[in-house]
Symmetry: C2
Subunit: 796 residues, 2 copies
């Protein structure tokens, strides 16, 4: 099972990487047993998974395994395979020397460079969005024209089944082309990428998530899946794309291209990179929805723990540039250069101030719609949750995944065709007809099939039609059937091994039932009053459905408001999103959180669980910390680093440690990555005399190795060298953050989260190291239905 | 001089308070001398100020004083009179016991209560805004009707000087009535209150800033000053009002009313209170500008160091409710109940999507306007800076302040009258005339005086006219003269002892020269193209001017966008604000920052100065910390607390301290306020046996005393009791945050700022207390023109 989970997990096949992901200090195997007695609920399935790897299946677990109906509760596990980002600078002597050497002008230059990078991030993200948009338009245009031509040809003669086959084959072909690279080369490019970016901004290093290769596959994949007619949107992947662009630009090099431009070297550390990735994610949101402020808020809501005004302003700059770039190039593409009217990929169309007025007595209706959205969203999430577990268990081979995607594409085409075929909802063609691909089918001349506006179109266009088509454009039955069918298709589609987002399908489902709701209202109230506009209810329904699925709050409100281009709806949208979140949270979490949990990512929430005050650092920390002396024998360092069973990543440096593991007073903290660079450059005390000729190790040497430090196995240390000594004083962080053992969990959590730490040393009142707190030690505790729960750690 | 500074300072006269503001630990007088040798620039004026109080004027300072041309550089001082808020909970045993006793449901109830409070805050803030708006409308309506009637009466007969006198007297009377309570009873209610709220959210406790009395005087004052025709707005004070409402509601009691409602007792601590005040400030912004998202961003930009999703969402809720309440009640007032069309006090009017299009080639023009706004804003700030210093030196008596305000009011009326009188810019009355008080004066019938639309009106209406009146409504000369005159009036007005804001005057100045710019453009380009709309340039000019003065960034962009009700202008407004900020910062800081500096507030910026890596905790900290033993003699505690020369506020508790001040190992931190409560309840070890009958001290006892703990002088301790012992174990915070001495200043700063600390203990490697870092120790270092500067501490 663990193996299966690995197959479908976000991390790439990973064998091409030069290193094995080192685990955090505090991942001792012995811990599983010690933890079992430390309070907290026990989960057999969790233990099973851990034991599974140890190939030591006891009778008890056999029983568990023999119950095939039992779904593996992967969300009760916490994977040990994810590393943490370090938002805290290692302020060692090299670092301090560099910072002290730098003049005020130097810092100004750095600041300017940061702005330039943000501008670039925005520009490139906008370009990518533009490219995706144009490619989708062209491909979808070609596809729909071909199918339309075919349908028109066969409508009179009969033999529409050929049209159906053509449509289904075209869809499947597109989807296959898009799914193959994702399934075979970069599984992390699947889906919208939002859960992955959420994790990254939270401080979890998801392997390969910000690689150029991922970006290429993602962009290609999303074009294919949208053109392939799946019930997906191209908006979610933009956020991931922006993040990759940001990581690439800010580091001035690409691992995928094996190219180092030797620029922006100062920014080669987790702190800076994460800030830029925030900007990239914001630029992505901004390009996707034309919502620069919404993008900033998205980044802050998901990522920032420490708010910094300059950073926020830079993020906003990137967002603005991104939206502007997209707008500018799309205006050229649409043949009206300079007319900046499409700031985002999705365009809700213009809501004029006159038509958007709402009245006080409509507010209870909006709240009801919010609740409905919450229920429907929860239903969506529950079904998708079971489906995802099914996929984890049974659909884990790449070829199976591609086949499933093709199947969904073919079914989507078939169902759409059937819907259109059996629909007899004909509407007269208006003068200002916004539909590009109207189907006449069996309608009279001058009329078009109303179901086809919803199905025979890219989802973005369908949403816009639902918002803006005049009252009476849709038959209630059409809308009802469409809602139902599209709901099922969307649930099935999310989680396929294609890169695509869930925003647009959610909006579409919501807009459909929202419009239905509006039509219903205007039926029961005869007057041609403010009720009469079903487009308004479509918008509210779209917000409710989307809110019910993703459960974003402030940022989503702002995104929706910016996408409509009118602030009038701010208040109702907020009410609706809030209601949807409250109602939805009663049943199940948001879709992204479900997928994060199913991947067992050690995700840190905003606060420690409120009822965790009875836990202290002593109970939470990993004890048996491996410490080094200030001047340590090379052999011991190599041995510790090579020990695959512990795979520690941060090592407290102590004044005097005796061999019997009685730890000494803390005087610093050194990281695995730093030790590896030191070993590679053979910075040994015995060589100090000969080093006079040799150049001194600089911060640059550490930056060059970032972020993929070579594995310890690749460094050869001779037997003589093993007896040398290494002086860590200059390289360790001499002032790591520490807490006393009695500190309560919420207090530890706050310090850890606010500063974005990776290691927090726990000391006794003599300043002796007694433990180390890492991300997993904190993420383990979460609030379940029966109070505080403790997740199991597993090597999955 | 110090005395003078005190007179005009934000703090109230303060003698009625039950306590003397205790100073922070680390304010030893001996420090001034030791600091002089610790590097950093020296400021004679600074020392003078400190010495002044000590009544020990040396010859050298006499010389300084004898130079009257020398302006006292108050901004180079750091006042010791401001206390700090403690955003860190004191996690002592009582606290932990309470938290551990609480069930999950208990925490849910708390959360619900927080939401209720935020709803209440929003509702009450909206109500207050509504009240202010209606009162101003009515009073101004009455005033302008009276004057208009008078003018019309005298236009034909001659003798308009009587109208002038009537106008001037009415203005002065209003302003006098508004200024007297401010000047005599609550100086902290003067101005917009935004600098004070910025400081509060930054963690500085400004005395009386969130008192009900302040609110009452503020609301009354702002009504009078706007009705009195000063060049002020009613928007800024709303932010302060919202904050007071929040502080009042969340604490469930009022000191001014001497009433305790015994509700929300859990929230009686700095952490919770500050969160609610953020919500209140946001609600204020929201009500002022109809900008709920802008309000949230304002609060975050100014206040939050630690971003919390739930908190942000609550703040947003308060903002929305506030805007909605205002909207609802104003719709009733305007006779159209339920038509929600005025979400804020200032209403920019409707910018329709058609008229607001801008084109690519206009962007350079926008940037030029931004730069212009930056220059003009800097000019505004420089003049106001000198004026404020003049006021600090010479206009410090309340009666003088009231007289100055009256003078300004009379001059405003006179100048306005003269402008209108000498203007011959007559415009035809339109059909859809939005001006309420049109003056015909010497114009032909069916025409009105165009200058009067700008001057004979509340500034809000004038702004709207400039945005929306059709091209040709204003003569360029009218606009030019108006800009100049209003600029001078606005500069003079800001800083008067009346409660009023600077937002609207700034917008008005900017709108005037922006419109002028637009007219100029449409003159040089003949075509009736997109250039032709001067209202658009008025909007951009308004943004540029406001940005140049206040230098807010992200939040101001959003506020402007929300106030216009149209997101189209997001990108140009951002560009303009950014340019204005960059250009303006080249000359001088933002207006609020100037006023904060002139008050010598220990304000912490986002980061430590970049060039401060060479400083460590050892240099920054205050040494000679007074420590207590875990079990301490009552007499010593009383003596330490009574020592007015030190006035420490936080005391590390150590294991063994010998009398020769060799500090022991740290085991906790106790606050002055806690000790005072302990002394008041006589929690002595000797009484422990008899305490069996006595009830145990609870957290409630500490909360009841919050935030105004009685002064030590009011607690009587008999000679016998002085020999008793007090066990601090249960009450101290056993896990205060500590840093080693070698920690660099940026690292200390980050920890301090991110967690909102009040005391940070510096320890040596044996965990012995060697110093204490407080807000002043960090705020002292700032980046001046010649690199890092150190401010002087002073008792002003």
């Amino acid at each position: 099972m663990a193996n299966i989970a690995k197959k479908v997990s976000w991390s790439s096949r990973g064998d091409d990487r030069g290193e094995r992901a080192p685990l955090l200090n505090g991942a001792e195997d012995g811990k599983h047993n010690s933890r079992q007695s430390s309070g907290g609920a026990m989960f057999h399935i969790g233990r099973l998974s851990a034991v599974d790897l140890e190939e030591d299946i006891t009778h008890e677990e056999d029983i568990v395994r023999s119950r095939p109906k039992e779904i593996p509760h992967n969300e009760k596990l916490l994977s040990l395979k994810y590393e943490s980002l370090d938002y805290d600078n290692s302020e060692n002597q090299l670092f301090l020397e560099e910072e002290r050497r730098m003049s005020y002008m130097g810092f100004r230059c750095l600041e300017i460079r940061r702005w330039v990078i943000c501008g670039l991030i925005g520009f490139l993200t906008g370009l990518i969005a533009c490219m995706i948009d144009i490619a989708v338009e062209e491909l979808a245009g070609y596809k729909y024209s071909a199918v339309k031509q075919n349908i028109e040809q066969f409508t009179e003669f009969g033999g529409l089944s050929i049209s159906l086959i053509l449509w289904a084959v075209l869809n499947s072909a597109f989807v296959m082309v898009g799914a193959i690279p994702v399934a075979f080369f970069e599984p992390v490019a699947a889906g919208s990428g939002i859960p992955q970016i959420k994790c990254y901004l939270n401080g979890v290093k998801i392997p390969c998530v910000v690689r150029l290769k991922t970006l290429a596959i993602k962009v290609f994949g999303v074009i294919c899946s949208v053109a392939g007619g799946l019930a997906v949107g191209k908006e979610g992947p933009m956020i991931h794309s922006g993040a990759v662009v940001a990581a690439g630009v800010s580091q001035g090099r690409s691992t995928s291209l094996k190219k180092d431009f030797k620029i922006f070297e100062y920014f080669r550390r987790d702190t800076e990179k994460r800030d830029f990735v925030s900007a990239g994610a914001a630029a992505g949101v901004s390009a996707a929805f034309g919502a620069p402020v919404g993008g900033v808020l998205f980044s802050l809501e998901e990522g920032a723990s420490f708010w910094n005004q300059m950073l926020t302003w830079r993020i906003f700059f990137a967002s603005m540039i991104s939206s502007f770039t997209l707008n500018f190039f799309l205006s050229i593409y649409h043949g009206k250069p300079g007319e900046l009217s499409s700031p985002g990929l999705i365009n809700f169309g213009r809501f004029d101030s006159d038509s958007v007025q709402y009245n006080l007595y409509e507010i209870p209706l909006f709240i009801i719609m919010g609740a409905l959205g919450g229920v429907l969203g929860a239903l969506f999430n529950i079904i998708n949750y079971w489906l995802t577990i099914f996929r984890i268990r049974y659909v884990h081979r790449p070829c199976l995944q591609v086949m499933e995607a093709m199947l969904v594409a073919a079914v989507t085409a078939t169902v759409s065709f059937a819907m259109i075929y059996f629909s007899n909802d004909c509407q007269p063609l208006g003068q200002d007809n916004t539909e590009e691909y109207t189907l006449q089918l069996f309608c009279a001349d001058g009329e078009y099939n109303s179901m086809a506006t919803a199905f025979f179109n890219t989802p973005e266009r369908s949403v816009r039609s639902l918002f803006h088509n005049p009252p009476g454009s849709y038959n209630p039955l059409t809308l009802g059937v469409f809602t139902l069918v599209y709901f099922v298709l969307a649930v099935w589609t999310y989680g396929l091994t294609v890169s695509a987002g869930v925003f647009i399908p959610s909006l579409l489902i919501g807009a459909a039932w929202g419009r239905l709701f509006g039509i219903f209202l205007s039926t029961i109230t005869s007057s041609q009053s403010i009720w009469a506009d079903p487009g308004k209810y479509a918008l509210i329904g779209a917000a409710a459905q989307l809110g019910g699925i993703v459960r974003m709050t402030l940022s989503l409100t702002v995104i929706m408001v910016e996408a409509t281009g009118n602030v009038t709806y701010g208040f109702p949208i907020m009410l609706v999103l809030m209601t949807a979140k409250i109602v939805g949270d009663y049943f199940i979490e948001g879709l992204y959180d479900i997928h994060i949990k199913l991947q067992s990512v050690p995700f840190l929430h905003w606060d420690a669980p409120p009822t965790s005050h009875w836990l202290t650092a002593r109970e939470v920390m990993s004890s048996q910390v491996t410490c080094f002396n200030r001047v340590e024998r090379v052999g011991r360092i190599v041995d510790v680093l090579s020990n695959t069973s512990t795979n520690h990543n941060g090592f407290p440096v102590v004044v005097h440690t005796t061999e019997n593991d009685e730890p000494g007073k803390i005087c610093g903290l050194i990281l695995r990555s730093q030790l590896i660079v030191l070993l590679k450059h053979k910075v040994f005390v015995e060589r100090a005399s000969s080093r006079l000729s040799q150049r001194k190790l600089q911060l640059k040497d550490f930056r060059d190795a970032y972020p993929r430090f070579p594995p310890i196995q690749s460094i050869h240390v001779s037997q003589d060298e093993r007896e040398c000594m290494m002086d860590l004083t200059e390289f360790m962080n001499p002032t790591p953050y520490t807490v006393p053992q009695e500190t309560s969990l919420p207090r530890v959590f706050k310090l850890f989260r606010a500063l974005g730490l990776r290691h927090l040393v726990v000391v006794d009142d003599e300043n002796r190291v007694v433990g180390l707190v890492t991300r997993k030690d904190l993420a383990r505790y979460h609030l379940g239905k029966d109070g505080l729960e403790e997740l199991q750690l597993a090597q999955t």
